[in-house]
Amino acid sequence: MNSSQATATRVSGSSKKLLSSIRKIATSFAVILTTLFGLLVITFVIGRLVPADPVIAAIGDQADQATYERVYKEMGLDRPLYEQFGTYLVNVVQLDFGQSHITKNTVSSDLARVFPATIELATLATIIGAGLGVPLGVVSAVRKGTWVDHLGRVVGLMGYSTPIFWLGTIVILVFYAKFGLIPGGGRIDIYNEGLVEGPTGSLLLDSVLAGEWEVFLSALHHVIAPALILGYAAMAYLSRMSRSFMLEQLRQEYILTARAKGLGQRAVVWRHAFRNIRVQLLTVVALAYCGLLDGTVLIETVFAWPGLGQYLTSALFFADMNAVLGSVLLIGLISIAINLLSDIVYRFIDPRTR
């Protein structure tokens, strides 16, 4: 094959690859759109299932019949369901989630305020969980059957089975009430509150960027307990998964080849086997992140962490359906976004999908 022929085949080959890439991206897009749509249908249905009368929730039960009917029409409740859904869709796209009758703000402004705190907590917890869990799982697999393996599995199993709100409460009982080592809740102490309004929304990062070390230390002091607890739950899951992935790889023939080449254990495990599980790990880390969003709802309540979870639970307590739905929708959107992100990175890492 001379060089000009080689170039010709290479060009048509790469344009074919481009076409299939575009097709794949378009399919992903369609999938995401349908998922989003489904999400909205579900939240809409949840909103309509409420046995409480939304009109009365808005105007109280003392109002007279005329006001009732007026507000009824205003809220669009007399329109057919599909029209109501349409209005709902339009509102959502414009980020209008209605108004919260407790805080008196729009739900979207409330959400914008609380959501960075949750992201900070969930991200930190995922980093802790992955940083501890993955090596633990790998070591467990490599030393299968030894005490390290058994210990790792028991620790993991406990993490799976512990009710996270209970663990949080116990930690507060022991480390705050008994030993005074950690604060009783909140994101930062009152002296340092509001001192740093940074670009990222993460108090830790913003205070470092602004050079405010006292703020940083206080923020760290407050975040460490909830992040470690959530991180523990993530670690349990991730160590279990990485152990299972690793075991599967160590059974493969190419591991024997690597050993036959004269590679030592460390190179075999990390340069060969680990490279093959990176993609699967990515998927489960994304899943762990979404699972943590569940955990934050409970942990934020226990630690009075001013995030999405606490907002949701107080909205539930006060039957503020707009706020509840807005939060639920946002959490669903975050889940989808995380999965999409992991999908994209996956495409880059795995040579088999290129």
């Binding site: 349908t34 998922t35 089975s161 009710p163 209970w166 949701l312 639970t313």
Partner: protein
Amino acid sequence: MMKNGSFTTLHNWLISEDFTSSRQARLHKAYVAWLGLLANPLAFTGFLVVLGLIVVAIVAPAITSYSPYDQDLSRALQPLSWQHWFGTDEFGRDVYTRLVYGARTTLYISILVTLIVAPIGFMIGAMSGYLGGWVDVVLMRITDIFLSFPSLVLALAFSASLGPGIENAVIAIALTVWPPIARLARAETLTFRNADFVVAAELQGAGMMRILLRHIVPLCAPSVVVRLTLNMSSIILTAAGLGFLGLGAQPPMPEWGAMAASGRQYLLDAWWLTTIPGIAILIVSLAFNLLGDGLRDILDPRNG
């Protein structure tokens, strides 16, 4: 293990592999699985705990001397003692009694959810795998949509809109638990979909339902059972979470999560109110996980 007399004959009959009837073959399989369970101490412990839970729930009145509902404010917030093994709560009710009756609530929720989810999830998944085509695409999209919500949040949202109460909590939890079962059923069905024996049945004129029920269900059963057992643990945790947030079982009904929640206010003075129910949740959840893990090792030896 020494077995003497009639046990030995029975044991040998069950162990032998020359089957004279399909009933013997089935009993043999069950017996071998049972032996496998006995050989795995962790899984067996889990099994015993689960069994214990069921027994406790059934004989609750027999093992408690107080009523879970009677209030006596003069005896509120008492620490652990011989009269009150786990102390009393803020209304003077015996915590141990409420814990025991709470086992009933826990079992009620878990069993009900499983009874709803198993057939529905399985049917959706199996039909999806069997029929393929647009039915598969649509059903899987729906499953994915439900999967894209973190389960507690979705259960929360449904629970909130349906209103508090234990039946609504069951429905809400069931709505979050069915997707993984459907996925599993679909994957298993796809494995067997084009097997020769299925095609043979189709040629004989068997319809979809018959094939699914008589041929595919028995083959999928082991992995579905394992998954359901493992799921019990998360059902219990979700139910406790809902209880903690005030949804689900309403007072005065004893429910472990709700007990832990109401105990928070008195955390510093009466630590047992929150700690003890939490330990109960932990133990039961752990037991189901151990049992599920053990079952998986027995029934599905691929996953070592």
